[in-house]
Every structure is written in C-alpha cells, then in structure tokens.
C-alpha cells in the first residue's frame, strides 16, 4: 500500500533549524598533547624482505652486499631425444651457467652504468642472523666473518649493468663453480653480489641461477634450466644510530617511535570558540571531535637511507609501555595501507606536513576519561609492513617549531531548545 511509505516533510527554510554550530580547527603543540618520545630499532631482519641491496660508499658511507643461496639443482628434465621423442632424462650434466640478478630500476639510485661483482662465499652463514660483521649470530654461536662484509669470497667475475638497457645483470659461471654450489648440505654455499661502482645503491629484486645442461639422451643439445634462490639476505654497514631527538619509522631492521598521548579534556580557546559556548574552559566531548591527526614534519634523514618509494605510516596503540621494545600493539589506527607518504617528502620536499589521522583513538580517549583525569595512552608510529625497505622515514622531533602537533577539528553546537 503506497500510503504506508513514509516521506518526512523536509523544509529548506533555514529559520527552522537550531542555531548553526561552529566548527573550528585547533592545533595543539607537542607539550600540550604528548610526551616521552622514544625511538626503538631492531624489528625484523633483512632476510624477511625477500630482496637484496648492494651499495658502495653510497652517500659516502653505506656499503651493502647481497647474499644468495640457491635451491637444489633439478635432477630430471623432459628432453627430446635424437629420435624426436620427449622423455624424462635423469642423467643431466651441468656444463656451466650464469647468475642473473634482476634489479629494481625505480628503487635503485644510480646515475649510469655500474659494475657489479660476484663471489662465492667461503664461510658458513645463517640467513636469519647474518650481518656485516657476523656470519652467524644465533644462541651460543657467534661466528664473525673473516673479513667484515661477508668475506672473503672466491671471485667469480664482474659485469656491467646499464639501467638504460634493461633490468638484469648476469655473471657467467664455469662448471667447477656450478658443481661447488650443488652440495645443499654445505652451509657455506652461496653467492655474494657486491657493487664496485661508488656512491650507488641498487635494490636486487630477484636472483636466479641458470644452468647450461647437457642431457644424456641428446648430448648435442644444451638445455638451460633455472634454479630459484633458496635464501636471500643482505648485509650493510654502517648501522644507523638512533636519532637524538627525531622521529624515525621504517628501515630494516625496522624503527619505531613511541610517544605518550594525553588529550586535554578542556579547551581554553580559541576566542571564537569561547565566545560561541559562552566562556572557557569548555569541556571537550567525544562527539564534538570531528577529526584528529598527528601532524609530523618530514625531515631529510641520512642520505644513505633515503626512501626511494612511498612509505606507509601506521599508528598503533602500545598496550604495555613498560614491556617495550617487545610490547604488544593494538590494532592499526590508519587502516590496511596506512598513511602513504611519497619519497620526495624526505628529500627535495623535506619539511612537508604529514597528517596521520587518529580520530577514533582520540574519541575513545575522551570517552575513557570518565572518572580518570587526563588518561594517558601510548602510541607507536611505525611502518605498515615491517621491515619494508632499508630506507626509513625521518621526521622532526619535539623541541622546536617543526615538532609534531595535534590537529583537531571540533564542532560545538549551541544548546538546542524547543521553539
């Protein structure tokens, strides 16, 4: 029945509405909303990235080398024999091969062709704990590299990679080296890729071993078989020192910045607000808060660790600050992708304001203050995925005009009365 549909009368006569609420933006300096800033590092390890980094005196300081261990060689392959019949051949002879490194042309920083070197690692190493100085750093087993930087190695060769010509560089292998890497029980097995051109940093996205194979069923033919890498990691030096008074997010191992947040329960300004509500201080209620965001000013960090891709910033509540650096964290306040920040914000556009919305968190904080004056909670600023890159994001810390601020948008309505 049509009459059962309700359509409320809606008038556009503004006189029939209560007095217009006022919406204002308030900026709280660091001292008014936060305290106890601390930067923690060490979350995650390079091997978790699944990619490698090579650098040579990049920005004057950074050296990085990528370590790769390949999977077991194929033991059987479908081969067409001399009669034209395709059948499995389990008697394969590997007569040579090449290591192919695929490089991320966007994430890499180079001004032209570069020279890369490949060597065979001689020392037992552990992908989870390997560092510039330690080949193994597990419980009760600390084995340093004989030479810092995953050395020494048996040099296999060098190659020149020109980013203008493609995204891959390869090193030829002879049958002796191929045979040396066939023993999967050998813990020292592996290849080290290094960069010989100075002031360059490359990101190695993938490394493949391609084997020139002579099948027994058709010895006149060479078949190329691919062997994926089994393990990849990278080592670098120097390890960045924690910032004295800045905010650092990201990197590998990842950095987190922790701060205590205390939202004022009463507002003492601005004058426009005080006039509207008939005097200050005004109690700030959760539903009056439309928006809250921590605003950080991006800074140019160490040149060697400059981001080359967007950084996803995340904010989570630290559930137990006294348990840091291993304190449990709450759910993300920024969503799945976090607050994306382009790499230029840490380079040519350093000083950009980066807003990280935390409206729901602040509203809850205001709600929780029932019976508790100015409750304090701890937030962690971190990257969405940890670790995500050797590069990290830097922001100005508190203490000057570039320090973090809390931006609030607040709407306050006049008391609603009957006509």
């Amino acid at each position: 029945m049509a009459a059962c549909q309700e359509e409320s009368p809606t008038t556009l006569d503004a006189d029939l509405l209560p007095k217009e609420p006022i919406t204002i933006e308030i900026e709280l300096p660091w001292e008014d909303f936060a305290s106890d800033l601390e930067v923690f590092g060490g979350y995650g390890a390079p091997w978790e990235l699944g990619t490698g980094v090579v650098a040579n005196a990049f920005a004057g300081i950074l050296d990085a080398r990528t370590l790769v261990r390949f999977a077991a060689y194929p033991s059987v392959h479908q081969v067409r024999d001399t009669t034209g019949t395709t059948r499995p051949d389990s008697s394969l002879t590997f007569v040579g091969g090449r290591v192919v490194a695929f490089l991320d042309t966007i994430a890499s920083i180079t001004s032209g062709p570069v020279t890369l070197g490949l060597g065979a690692i001689q020392t037992r190493w552990d992908k989870r704990t390997v560092t510039w100085v330690a080949a193994v750093d597990t419980l009760n087993d600390l084995t340093p590299w004989p030479q810092p930087g995953a050395g020494p190695v048996n040099s296999i060769g060098t190659t020149v990679w020109d980013p203008a010509e493609g995204d891959s560089a390869w090193f030829e292998l002879d049958s002796v080296q191929v045979e040396a890497w066939a023993d999967t029980a050998d813990a020292s097995r592996g290849a080290r890729i290094e960069l010989l051109t100075e002031n360059t940093r490359l990101q190695v996205s993938r490394v493949v071993l391609r084997l020139d194979t002579r099948p027994s069923s058709n010895p006149d033919t060479l078949v190329v078989l691919s062997v994926q890498r089994d393990e990849i990691s990278f080592v670098y030096d120097p390890f960045p020192e924690p910032p004295a008074n800045g905010i650092r997010i990201g990197g590998v191992p990842a950095w987190r910045t922790v701060l205590n947040v205390k939202i004022p329960t009463h507002l003492d300004g601005p004058a426009e607000l005080c006039v509207a509500v008939g005097g200050c201080p005004m109690e700030l209620e959760p539903l009056q808060l439309n928006y809250a965001a921590i605003t950080l000013k991006s800074a140019r960090g160490e040149q060697a660790f400059q981001p080359t891709d967007s950084v996803g910033l995340d904010v989570r509540q630290v559930l137990r600050r006294d348990a840091l650096p291993k304190a449990p964290l709450g759910e993300s306040l920024t969503g799945l992708l976090g607050q994306r920040v382009g790499p230029d914000a840490f380079g040519v556009h350093a000083g950009t304001d980066i807003e990280i919305p935390i409206t729901a968190f602040v509203r809850n904080l205001l709600r929780d203050q029932d019976g508790v004056a100015n409750p304090t909670k701890t937030l962690a600023l971190l990257s969405v995925f940890e670790p995500i890159s050797i590069a990290y994001a830097s922001f100005h810390g508190p203490g000057d005009e570039n320090g973090p601020v809390l931006r609030l948008i607040v709407t306050v309505g006049r008391a609603m009365e009957l006509p």
Binding site: S8, A14, E20, P21, A293
Partner: protein, 391 residues
Amino acid sequence: MKQFVQSLVLALVISLVTTPSSAQSLFNAAGMGLPVEAIDGRARALGNLGIGLWGSGLLPGDPAAAGMFIAPTAVIVGQPSWVDYDHESGNSGSIQGNRFPLLGVGYPAFSGMFTVSLSSFLDQHYKSQRSSQLHLRGEESEVTDFFEQDGSIGSLNLGYSRPLGTSAALGFNFGRYTGSVLRRLERDFGTVSLPEILESYQTSSRWTYSGTSLTGGMAVNLGGVARVAASVTWSGDLNATASDENQGMDRSFSMPMQYRLGTSIVLAPGLMITASAVQADWADIEGDLDTPTTVGSTSNIGVGVELSRASLFGLAVPIRFGYRTGKLPFSLGSSVATERILSAGLGLSFSEVEDIVLGGADLAIERGRRSDSVLREEFWRATISLRVSGY
C-alpha cells in the same frame, strides 16, 4: 467482569498494531506543530469537528455522546494522507504519511459509560537542512546541517458519561498530555579534503510532554429530529521536561480553552444535516515561544449532510458529504494559516441488530488546502475508522 477483561484485551491489541503518528505537513514545523483532531471517519466525511453527531461516538471532544449509547464500544482510526507543497523559496514536492489519531474503548458501568482513549493533539515531525561554507585549511568547503524533529503530543483521556433522562447526557474527560519530541542536528562535512573523512557532528535533545486537561460536555436530543451538543476543554500548561543528558531547558506552554458546539438535524427520514464549530484562542502561548511565530486564534466551522438510506447488497451504506474551514494556530509566514477541506465518505455496517451497528467501518476522503503567506499545501487525506460495539 468478563466483558471488562475483553475490553482491556481489545484495547491492548489495538495499541499493539498501531504505530506512532508521523508527519503529514510542513506546518508541523510552525510553533508547537499542527493540530491533529481526534475524530473518526464519519465525522471527517461530514466536515464535522467531532461534536453533535447523531449516533454513538467515542470522541474526546464530545464526552457526552458516549452516554447516549450504553454498550461496550471500541474504535480505532487510521489516516493516510498525500500532500503536495509549494514554498515561496521555490522548494516544492510531495510527502505522504500515516497516523492513527484516535484509539478508544468504552465500557458501561455505574449507569453510564467509562471511556479510555488515546488521541493525537499536535504533530511536530519535520526535517530541515541548510548548507553553509566552512573555512578549513585555507579552503572553502561546503557542509550541510541536517535537522530532524521527531515527536508529537497526544492525550490519554479517561472519561465518564451518563444519560440524564432519556434525551440528554452529560460527560467529562480527564486528560493527560503525553508524548515526547527529539530534536537532532547533524553536521555532515561531505568531501572536505583531509586525509580522513571527517566524522559528522551530532547533537540531540529530548523532551517529554506532560500536562492536564479537563473536558466537560453535554448533549441533548430534541425530539427525534435534532441533537445539540457542546463541550469545553480547559488545559493546564503543557510542560516539556528535558531529559537528564540534555543541554536544553525545561519549558512550559500555555494551552488555550477550547469551545465546541455542534448539532445534527434530521430533515427527513434518511436525510441528516450537521454543523459544528470549534474556537480556541492560542494567543497566550506566543509569549512562551522563543522563536518568533505567527500565532492565531483557531475558529473552525464545518457543515455536512448524510444520506443514511443508501444501501449496497442489502446493507445500509450511508453516504456523506461535508465542508469545513478554519485557521491553524501556528504559521510559518507572517499571516495566519488557513485550512479548507471538502470531504465525502460512506459507512459500512458489518453487523447490525435492531438498527444498532455492532461492527462497522467509516471511510472519508478529503481534499483540502492549507496556506499562509509562504507555504501552500494541497492534500488528499483518507480516514478509516473501525468500530465494534456490544462485544
């Protein structure tokens, strides 16, 4: 006792199947709202204002009428309407809604009739919106304020009436104003350019209405050809009490005395005419309103004719026509709003014993117009009332 329990059960069932009244006019936004008369389909069809009609009735404005027919009686009234409006601002459109302006039960006792009724009084439901510019982050952004007032004022009436001799009756109703109103404002920030969508701002206030009214009336049958009835309603202040969490203040509104007079005259067998008038001076409430509102004195009159000998499939199907005109107490513009209505309708008798209708329905269709200096509404309104007696 058994019949009394049946009456209570019937009242309960009826109250469960009804829904709250809802908006049917933009004049709901004026002052304290639009009056909703608690009258049934027969009175609507006859242009009657709820007093002085021949036959039984459970009309709060005619408390003596119940004393003319001593039998258990229940009535429920439903009222859908379709409204086209045209505001001087250029805003025009259509609205529709339903309401249940009257629910009543009567039960004979102590040589008279006790009545309980729940009736509508003022409808206050409407919505409004406004757009404005907001200066944020150095940019002008459009925000929209949505306002809704949801509520109405009703009256719970307890009455008693009894016959005086064979041709007169006296009755009264003791009424308690009921109902509440919720005023809710929401500011929507739309697509203001920030890293995150702004949470809308919402605030609301609720008031609960209370107050007392007393209606006394008398009806007299003059021979077998005419009935004359009159009633007066006195009201104390209508109090609006803000709920505890409100910012709003408690308020009080002066209610007017209401005077009603009506008559029905049988001109010939099967032909009856009726006339009625209601007068109420709302001037005292003007001082209680914070928002400047045009307040008027309501003087309504209505006339109608009933052809009661019409029949359909052997059942009596009285045919009715009516006209009424009057003023509304509150206006949106500077002039007092007026209302004019043409009506027609018929009655259906489902069960009838010795000319006494035990179960029946009355249907009215109205075509009317309300207008003031800024708003004009034209509407169709149907009224359907169901009545059972002697159960």
